[in-house]
């Protein structure tokens, strides 16, 4: 009897196969920390993309490429347009039908592709936009539309990756471990932003067009590499779930959305997130120039301000992770975060009225701490308040509210300051005055958030 080669090979390959496929064989109950750390790498790429867009390219486009500032602001606002669609992405991933039983991984992969694609064409689009080389004679619309497309792709990609990635991380762990995962994800985002800011700063010190291409395309390759590494074997090949998906009635977006906002306290939580994020977010772009112009800090010293703010935020994440693993109510921890922020901003304002550098530094640390506590606690509250099988939708809504509020906050902070500088009656007083108006607005928003977060009988967010 002849040896059945086909059956033999089939058996061997069937045994080997799953080892080389990008999904795990079984969904284990206990997910080791190394696997979560690996998954959290997607946040590093999101952080790098954010820094490149908001920080690095903002400067490079204006200073080195001589693109008009209003056009730059418009281009950088494009990714923000995609933020509301995060709710839709989250919902789609909740409802995703896959023969492999996958839910989040296909979306993270798609998002990664868009992010990569945007970065791949971005340097050339920017060079064409700035009229580099022969592009001077090219029609204007080529540069404009391709740069807009590049920014849109990166924005869409990072919003999709972050929404589906956070949902996947939440899926992977048990409920009482979720606060720790939220903390880990936030820390990795911060880590990615700080690290990439340092690296971009060093790499683009001596700007050349070639260097710009290298840096942006390097980011593209790094994005796809890190995300592939992060995704590998995270979601199980699950035939039972695939069958369930097949039999499930697909819920339309409107229905899921109405069910979500009908949750007691959900609308209030989202308004709270918008107010708080807006309040803390306005300071992002103003702390450094305020330290430089109003308090006479050097450039190196103002950079250290950001490090101090980040340190405060890290402490905030750590405290929130620990406290929220216990029985603490997430919304009240968020309120504490906003409460810490108010005296923080007050100290920052006081510093320009003779309070001195020490008061200012304490204020920066306190606002960082408050921002960390607030961000962590409100995200945890969102996850806890999410109905079952609607984690993606809830996280998408959180992301849409948070990203929009932060983006508008950053934009309005600059605009408000510039308007007050233009008004001689108000701004002629001192260099610190325009900044202090913005900081006062932040305090007002945080106080609104605190008032909103005070539990009223029967209106607290249900935590199940």
């Amino acid at each position: 009897m002849a040896f059945d080669y086909r059956a033999f090979a089939l058996r061997k390959l069937a045994a080997v196969g799953p080892k080389y496929l990008p999904f795990a064989d079984v969904a284990t109950e206990d997910v080791p920390l190394s696997r979560l750390l690996r998954l959290s790498l997607f946040q590093v790429t999101v952080g790098a993309a954010l820094v490149l867009l908001v920080g690095t390219l903002n400067r490079v486009m204006i200073v080195e490429l001589a693109v008009p500032a209003t056009l730059v602001a418009g281009m950088l606002a494009l990714p923000l347009l995609f933020a509301p669609f995060r709710t839709l992405i989250g919902h789609r991933s909740d409802q995703h039908k896959s023969a492999l039983g996958l839910r989040r991984v296909p979306y993270i992969w798609k998002g990664t592709m868009y992010q990569f694609g945007g970065f791949a064409i971005m340097p050339f689009a920017l060079l064409v936009l700035s009229g580099y080389g022969e592009a001077v004679d090219a029609p204007r619309w080529i540069g404009l539309s391709s740069a807009a497309l590049a920014f849109l792709l990166v924005g869409a990609g990072l919003h999709i990756v972050q929404t589906a990635g956070l949902a996947l991380a939440t899926d992977l762990v048990r409920e009482d471990d979720q606060p720790k995962v939220v903390g880990l994800m936030y820390v990795m985002l911060l880590f990615g932003m700080v690290l990439s800011a340092l690296i971009y700063g060093a790499l683009l010190e001596n700007y050349t067009p070639g260097r710009l291409i290298q840096v942006i395309q390097g980011t593209a390759v790094l994005t796809i590499g890190l995300n592939l590494f992060a995704l590998w074997k995270q979601e199980a090949l699950n035939r039972d779930r695939a069958r369930e998906m097949d039999n499930q009635r697909s819920v339309p977006f409107a229905e899921a959305w109405n069910a979500l906002i009908a949750q007691p306290g959900m609308v209030r939580l989202m308004v709270l997130i918008a107010l708080g994020t807006f309040g803390f977010g306005m300071a992002d772009v103003l702390l450094e120039p305020y330290g430089g112009q109003a308090l006479g800090f050097s450039v190196a010293e103002t950079t250290r301000l950001t490090a101090l703010f980040a340190t405060g935020t890290l402490i905030g994440f750590a405290i929130a992770s620990r406290v929220l693993s216990g029985p603490a109510d997430a919304v009240s921890i968020g309120r504490v975060g906003a409460l810490v922020g108010v005296p923080g901003f007050a100290a920052i304002i006081l510093a320009s009225f003779g309070g001195g550098a020490l008061v200012f530094l304490a204020g920066v640390l306190a606002t960082g701490l408050g921002a960390g506590l607030f961000g962590h606690a409100t995200l945890t509250a969102t996850i806890r308040a999410a109905p079952e099988n609607r984690i993606g939708l809830a996280l998408g809504t959180w992301g849409a509210v948070q990203a929009t509020a932060a983006g508008i906050g950053v934009a309005l902070a600059g605009i408000t300051r510039d308007i007050i500088v233009q008004m001689p009656l108000l701004g002629g007083l001192s260099t610190a005055a325009p900044y202090n108006y913005v900081f006062a607005i932040e305090i007002a928003f945080l106080i609104l958030a605190i008032l909103l977060a005070i539990p009223k009988g029967g209106r607290t967010v249900q935590e199940t």
């Binding site: 086909r6 059956a7 090979a9 089939l10 058996r11 390959l13 069937a14 196969g17 799953p18 496929l21 896959s98 023969a99 492999l100 296909p106 992969w109 798609k110 592709m113 868009y114 990569f116 694609g117 791949a120 064409i121 050339f124 689009a125 060079l127 064409v128 580099y132 080389g133 022969e134 592009a135 090219a138 080529i142 391709s146 497309l149 090949l237 695939a242």
Partner: protein, 51 residues
């Protein structure tokens, strides 16, 4: 394993599963292909080659 007519060689996936994996490959090829074409056009606009 080899008795199931639905499983395709050599991965042991069913036909539908294999088609889904394939669809990711196709999508990826399309997206990356379009990106590459666009990037080439943009480079050609700023620094033309071959003429």
């Amino acid at each position: 394993m080899s008795d199931d007519p639905d499983k395709v060689w050599p991965t042991g996936l069913t036909l539908r599963e294999a088609e889904e994996v394939h669809s990711y490959l196709i999508d990826g090829t399309r997206v990356f292909g379009a990106i590459a074409v666009l990037a080439h056009i943009l480079v050609a606009v700023s620094t033309p080659w071959l003429g």
